[in-house]
């Protein structure tokens, strides 16, 4: 990407992208399909809850998280087993009821718990890593309209970093797809206005 275009507003602010609001999940899904078919790659759909069928409408790939979690869970169980074996057989063998200290059966419950805790942490932390969280600042989070997503709004945003990005073209496409509002998002977006709106 040698000749990457950098978009700026007339006042010289760096452009993050363009966002559009849609009235409801149905409109949102249709619009997402249109954006997908138009061939954009750096874009996202924002909704207060995971909209059914959105993965398909956006043409998303399945996440690799389950593989990561499976590997971590099994490693956790292995670590747990070996650790107990070390403690029970090598570090501090306690013979009771004349039972061998290297039996594996008694190690199962704690091995299981080790596996569970590794699985749980890797599922949660893996989700954060894949999603790029925590990230406490984002150009979109400075937009008043965008903050409504956490309540009942539905928004699609296309980033300026997308190769096919063209502010006017994106705006026209959104409007054709039935957007109720289209807004430009800048990197150093509007500071919170200390004034009552309307």
């Amino acid at each position: 990407m040698a000749n990457k275009k950098i978009y700026k507003t007339e006042s010289g602010e760096l452009v993050y992208g363009v966002m559009a609001e849609f009235a409801n999940p149905a409109e949102l899904s249709h619009a997402a399909e249109k954006v997908r078919d138009a061939g954009y790659t750096k874009w996202d759909v924002y909704s207060p809850f995971p909209v059914h069928g959105m993965e398909e409408a956006m043409g998303m790939k399945q996440t690799n998280l389950p593989i990561l979690v499976a590997i971590m869970g099994l490693s956790g169980a292995t670590i747990g087993f070996l650790f107990q074996y070390f403690v029970r057989h090598l570090a501090y063998p306690i013979v009771h009821q004349a039972k061998p200290t290297d039996s594996w059966q008694v190690l199962i419950p704690v091995t299981f718990e080790f596996g569970v805790i590794f699985t749980a942490f890797s599922a949660l932390l893996g989700m954060f890593v894949i999603n790029g969280l925590p990230r406490w600042n984002h150009p979109l989070l400075r937009k008043d309209r965008f903050l409504g997503v956490s309540d009942d709004r539905f928004i699609i945003a296309i980033e300026a970093a997308d190769e096919k990005f063209d502010a006017q073209g994106v705006k026209t496409m959104f409007e054709k797809a039935g957007a109720t509002a289209v807004e430009l998002v800048t990197e150093e977006a509007d500071k919170p206005k200390v004034k009552a709106a309307h």
Binding site: A23, N24, P25, A26, E27, L28, D44, V45, Y46, S47, P48, F49, P50, V51, H52, M58, M60, T63, L65, P66, V69, F83, V87, R88, A91, Y92, I94, K99, P109, V110, F112, E113, V116, A120, A123, L124, G126, M127, F128, I130, N131, L133, P134, R135, N137, L141, D144, L147, G148, S150, D151, D152, A177, G178, T180, A181, K193, V194, A196, A197
Partner: protein, 551 residues
Amino acid sequence: MSAINPDQTTAARLAGMMRAPEPPRVDDPVTKDGSLVEDPSVRAPLVLGNRTFNDVTETVCGYIEKGPGRWWMPAFGLASAVASITGLMVGYLIITGVGVWGLNNHVDWAWDITNFVFWIGIGHAGTLISAILCLLKQKWRTSINRAAEAMTIFAVICAGMFPGIHIGRVWMAWMLFPIPNSNAIWPNFSSPLLWDVFAVSTYATVSLLFWYMGMIPDFATLRDRAARRLMRQGDSAPTLPIVGVRVDQLRALIYGLLSLGWRFSSRHWHTYEKAYLMLAGISTPLVLSVHSIVSFDFATSVIPGWHTTIFPPYFVAGAIFGGFAMVLLLLIPSRILFPGMKDLITLRHLENMAKIILTTGFMVGFAYAMEFFVAWYGANAYERDVFIYNRLMPPFLAGEDGKYAPYWWAYWTMIACNVLSPQVFWIKSMRQSPLVIFIVAFLVTIGMWFERFVIIVTSLHRAFIPGEWGMFYASWVDILTFVGSCGTFLTLYLLFTRFLPQFAMSEIKNVMPQANPHWEGYGHHGHGHSTGAAGGSHAAHHAPQAPKEGI
């Protein structure tokens, strides 16, 4: 209402100055609040009162932003006063020694372990609702899972205290964990007591992760609402009395940090849902394993009355039974104290939980019967005597030898509360009445405490040799420690209702009919929008209203 511009209404609501209007309450003779639909082809609505997405946000966030009501402060004061008794009793115990309890050489486990198993059992309902009902795609779980998960964490906190303080020398509690030390002593990994340490601490950790993960989107909602109010109110925003910080600034900061910058992206949702499903998948065997391992503490011993293979499933069923009872004990008063909740926790939810109580009550009853069968069929004289003369036989039925069970009243309390009282749920009107459900849930909670008391104390007080027979009498410290633990539980729960979202908002929105892109209200697939007002106004694009009857 009609004279106000809808924009102003929305602005007022966003500013936290106005609650969403109460919808007219339907009171149908058959479906009651509209959720008890009998027709199997009709899906009962999960959210009542034609609620929009915004109404759900308003209801749930409103109680955090404006406070739950005047009752909260006195309730919290009372609960935390009771909770402080725990601190006093534990302090007294540590300073003086375990002799302040009623334990003795015959009954060396009593209320401490009874309370531990009681609380850890209650802690099972939360994960059951979040994990197992999630895997079974039971959508009604969305309105109760958050409160149940919170309750789980608090119950596990209460449970975790008891093994910690019953070990005698509390300052040696670290030896429960496999930590390298100068004596080169390691714990015994073949002991169920050590498995228990791992099972309970894993369970507490995973439940906490699960609970937190579910709350991330809701924290983001609270953050955004605070941020928007700050933008709108500016300098007129309310401030805290002494420090002079704006309340919403504090909210935006704290909820913002907790939300980790969640921004409701569909790509994030995709990974999030996968991770949530995996947590549910791993929590399901975990929740079943925890009480199984707790039961190993007893089942692997040789004490008659404990040495039973039925213990693991019996304990798990009992835990679900007792846990659901506690969820109902908390949610039924919540429906009255937080009126907006009646749209989210419908009578159908309560009825479903009543049915689970009935089912698990049967499982527990079956286990009680099976224990007797095995005691008889196993032909072990000690075990038979434990069941008949340690538990069952009341003095007025004693034979010519005059032998009877001194703790017969505990055993029969357990049977009456756990096996008999849920039977009222066979009658439809009973399992649809919140008052009856509350009473039964209360009885079940008492019964489940007595179940653990019966298992532990009645088995121990008369073991093999008559020379080691003796009674257990609870001391005042025993009683007050338990009362204090109830206060601790209630205090934590009240704090939860005050500062954290009591419902999984994003999950509830997701099960509302209008969340489905193919909902009939949106017309045919593929057609463009027809909304007249382009851009601008927020109020114009409210999500369409749900139909009156469920879909």
